[in-house]
């Protein structure tokens, strides 16, 4: 894999561009707004309020401190889905750049993911107050695992975004398909219900299928660390890392295979 280490070196050389693109997206998105970044906090807050009303108040879910449970699964989901929706067009919408200048093309989807990552990290500012307000148990030890989980989540997301952004160059359906897919994906992930419910209802191949969703494992890790549900163990952490690594590697291979054709296909 000599060529990929060269590519990675090159990617590193272009890190300045990566940061500049993330900064550019921030400036472009919040330019001229009064509340700026606060707008991006509004989406998860409203979602939590709505689900809280529907599932917590009307349907009386058995999950205690439901808003905290929701937030700890929903914020990572917003990061993931936001990255995918933003990243899928990251190549196709930058045609003029790709046609004119050489730079490692993976910079574009990766910068979109990092942009969403920064939002995700900033959104912890609503999560931690909620933890305190609802008096959730605080496990300092588990918090130390949070950076690892974030890295795993980032790897997984970059992997998926690399694939969808590359394929979207050849099939512009991908971006529309993705919107539909994410809607289903959201409900196939234990965010508004608990994983125990799934494990209790599904059996055999259906459960295997459900667990094939790579976001399930990572969501359960967030639940364990942030909400305080039982920690699934180091093995689960390693498994999530392995899955993320496969997605990242696979995504990178797919991306680099088709990347040379971008300039003429866009």
């Amino acid at each position: 894999m000599e060529f990929s280490t060269n590519r990675l070196k090159e990617l590193f050389r272009y890190k300045e561009l990566l940061f500049n693109l993330v900064g550019k997206e921030f400036k472009a998105k919040y330019k001229g707004t009064v509340f700026g970044f606060l707008w991006s906090l509004l989406v998860p807050v409203v979602m939590v309020l709505v689900y809280w009303f529907a599932f917590g108040y009307l349907m009386k879910t058995s999950i205690e401190d439901f808003p905290v449970y929701l937030l700890s699964g929903l914020l990572p989901w917003v990061f993931f889905s936001g990255s995918l929706l933003g990243g899928v067009t990251s190549i196709t919408s930058n045609g003029s750049l790709i046609n004119k200048i050489y730079f490692p093309r993976e910079i574009l989807p990766i910068s979109t993911v990092l942009f969403n990552m920064v939002h995700f990290l900033l959104s912890f500012t609503i999560l931690f107050p909620a933890l305190i307000i609802f008096g959730r148990p605080v496990h300092i030890g588990l918090y130390l695992l949070l950076p690892f989980v974030l890295v795993i989540h980032l790897m997984l997301t970059v992997g998926v975004v690399l694939i969808v952004s590359a394929w979207n160059v050849f099939f512009r359906d991908i971006q529309h398909l993705l919107e539909v897919l994410l809607l289903a994906w959201f409900f196939m992930t234990p965010i508004i219900y608990s994983y125990d419910l799934v494990a209790g209802s599904l059996q055999g191949p259906l459960l295997v299928l459900y667990n094939a969703n790579p976001v399930v494992g990572i969501t359960e890790l967030y639940h364990a660390i942030l909400y305080g549900s039982p920690f699934p163990g180091v093995a689960a952490l390693a498994k999530a890392f392995g899955i993320a690594l496969i997605w990242l590697g696979g995504g990178y291979v797919i991306f680099t295979q088709v990347e040379p054709r971008f300039a003429e296909e866009i």
Partner: protein, 521 residues
């Protein structure tokens, strides 16, 4: 995804590459021109089992072998669509070859598209950092060069203004300045010396000479043959994607002119230009006389005049005539700024130039309405034109009453709003016998994409026998800008269906009703 081609990644062998900055080894580059662009899964699925070849291959480069030694300045010349820009894009890693390998030894900076990636809302300063990072700079490297970049672009006062408020000249100057401060081993230059005013162009040339002195390798693509000859150590000629001449610039340019002059349907018709040149010379009968009485401070004017003279005496194409007039005007306006003392003489010169310009224009249209020429801003470029008969066979001979399809492969080099495509036929006397365009035929707005094929199908050719000259054009909605106009560029021969008289072929149904003719019938 199995249909995706793979690229040959050949790493250069050290020993072979040491003296060469660039090596092309049997490089070919193919573009697929889709008849209908499939960009969705459904269309791909639907057409999967049907006619899979709904595209045509256009080979922009075919089997090019080229070595550029370190420190050489190489000029690439050739007609539009000959593969010059593809060459540069391959060098710049924007495109990958379909066969063969492109090897580059050293860091490379491409002055292909200045200011690509500029954010209009960002200030000049922010764009220097953004653009610099696109070119692979780190923040500290940009910091080191920042003052120099701004000074070179002469934008000290405007560097904290959003670039959307820049003039196009300022925009280009900033782009050029960033790109040239990369300090690469290999520099690619694509027709960008038309940046800014004369003074800035001089500065750019100075910078390029400086690069040469520093032993850098430069690849220079240009239509300005004079610049190629003056600047380059060596020049190559590309003809339809093939390397057809290589050597001393003068030698290659001569070969280029020879080919242009002899090939049919090309841009330069040398014999017809001779009178044009005569007229140009007539317009400057007495340069020294014009300058008589002007003191020594007027040496600058003489220089300008000498330059004009040189330009005028060079063999020129009709296409270049326009360019040259623009160049002359530019030189004039640059000179105009030099001082009021010269106004008198300049006024005379200006009038002469105006006269010259109008004469050239009149000449062009009067000399021969059947003059074959190709010109335009190149924003849309016709690459290849085929005339197909009813069976889809390309050719130049058709029969009245049969169908004729004109298939035009085009490329959009720079997006334009609502382009209009037109076609017309002239007979041998130069009169237009038929002309139409996408507005007259109410085709509606066109989604051209970045390249594609335009098909004009005439189900029933109503021309009677003879030789017809076809003009194809892509122009702006108000017809003030010609993106590409191929005037009388193609000839087709039409065989009459029957021995009709006149110029057109009409269906005629005869009927005789024998019997008594009543008055009310």
């Amino acid at each position: 995804m199995s249909s995706l081609p793979r690229w040959n990644r050949v790493s250069p062998k050290k020993s072979e590459m040491e003296d060469n900055a660039v090596r092309f080894e049997n490089v070919s580059k193919r573009f697929r021109i889709y008849h209908e662009k499939h960009h969705s899964l459904k269309e791909n699925v639907l057409t999967m089992f049907r006619d899979r070849r709904r595209w045509e291959d256009f080979w922009a480069l075919r089997g090019v072998d080229l070595e550029i030694p370190k420190g050489q300045m190489l000029g690439i010349i050739g007609e539009n669509g000959s593969g010059k820009s593809t060459c540069l894009k391959l060098l710049a890693k924007i495109l990958r070859p379909n066969t063969g390998a492109v090897m580059v030894n050293g860091s490379l900076s491409a002055l292909i598209e200045l200011g690509a990636g500029f954010q209009p809302d960002f200030t000049g300063r922010e764009n220097v950092y953004l653009n610099g990072s696109i070119l692979g700079f780190s923040r500290s490297e940009i910091n080191d060069r920042f003052d120099e970049i701004v000074a070179f672009a002469e934008l000290e006062k405007f560097i904290d203004t959003p670039v959307k408020n820049y003039s196009s000249g300022m925009y280009m100057r900033l782009g050029f300045s960033i790109a040239i401060h990369v300090d690469p081993d290999i520099l690619l230059i694509d027709e960008i010396l038309a940046v800014g005013d004369e003074a800035f162009q001089q500065k750019c040339l100075e910078r390029i000479r400086h690069f040469r002195k520093a032993g850098k390798t430069i690849v220079f693509v240009s239509h300005a043959l004079g610049s190629v000859e003056a600047l380059c150590d060596r020049a190559i000629l590309l003809t339809k994607g093939k390397l057809t001449a290589d050597g001393q610039p003068a030698h290659t340019i001569a070969e280029y002119r020879r080919r242009l002059g002899t090939e049919t349907g090309t841009q330069i018709l040398v014999p017809e230009l001779a009178p044009c040149q005569e007229k140009l010379k007539e317009s400057f009968p007495d340069v020294d006389g014009l300058l008589a009485g002007v003191d020594e401070k007027m040496a600058g004017i003489k220089e300008v005049m000498a330059w004009l003279e040189r330009r005028v005496s060079e063999p020129m194409s009709i296409e270049n005539a326009r360019e040259r007039i623009v160049e002359m005007e530019k030189t004039m306006s640059a000179a105009q700024g030099q001082g009021a003392v010269r106004d008198q003489a300049l006024g005379d010169l200006g009038r002469k130039l105006e006269l010259l310009e109008s004469r050239v224009h009149t000449f062009l249209s009067d000399a021969s309405p059947l003059l074959s020429r190709s010109f335009g801003t190149n924003q849309i470029e016709f690459l290849d034109v085929d005339f197909l008969d009813g069976n889809g066979t390309p050719g130049k001979r058709f029969r009245s009453g049969d169908s004729l399809t004109v298939r035009v492969k085009y490329r959009v080099n720079e997006a334009v709003e609502d382009p209009i495509f037109g076609i017309s036929f002239r007979d041998q006397r130069g009169s237009v016998v038929f002309g139409t365009n996408t507005v007259i035929d109410r085709v509606g707005s066109l989604d051209t994409g970045t390249m594609g094929t335009l098909e004009i199908k005439i189900p029933r050719l109503a021309l009677l026998g003879g030789l017809f000259f076809v003009t194809l054009a892509a122009h702006s909605a108000d017809n003030t800008v010609q993106y590409h106009r191929m005037e009388n560029y193609y000839k087709i021969q039409v065989e009459p269906r029957r021995e009709y008289d006149g110029a057109i072929d009409m269906e005629c149904n005869w009927r005789v009703i024998a019997g008594e003719v009543t008055s009310e019938q």
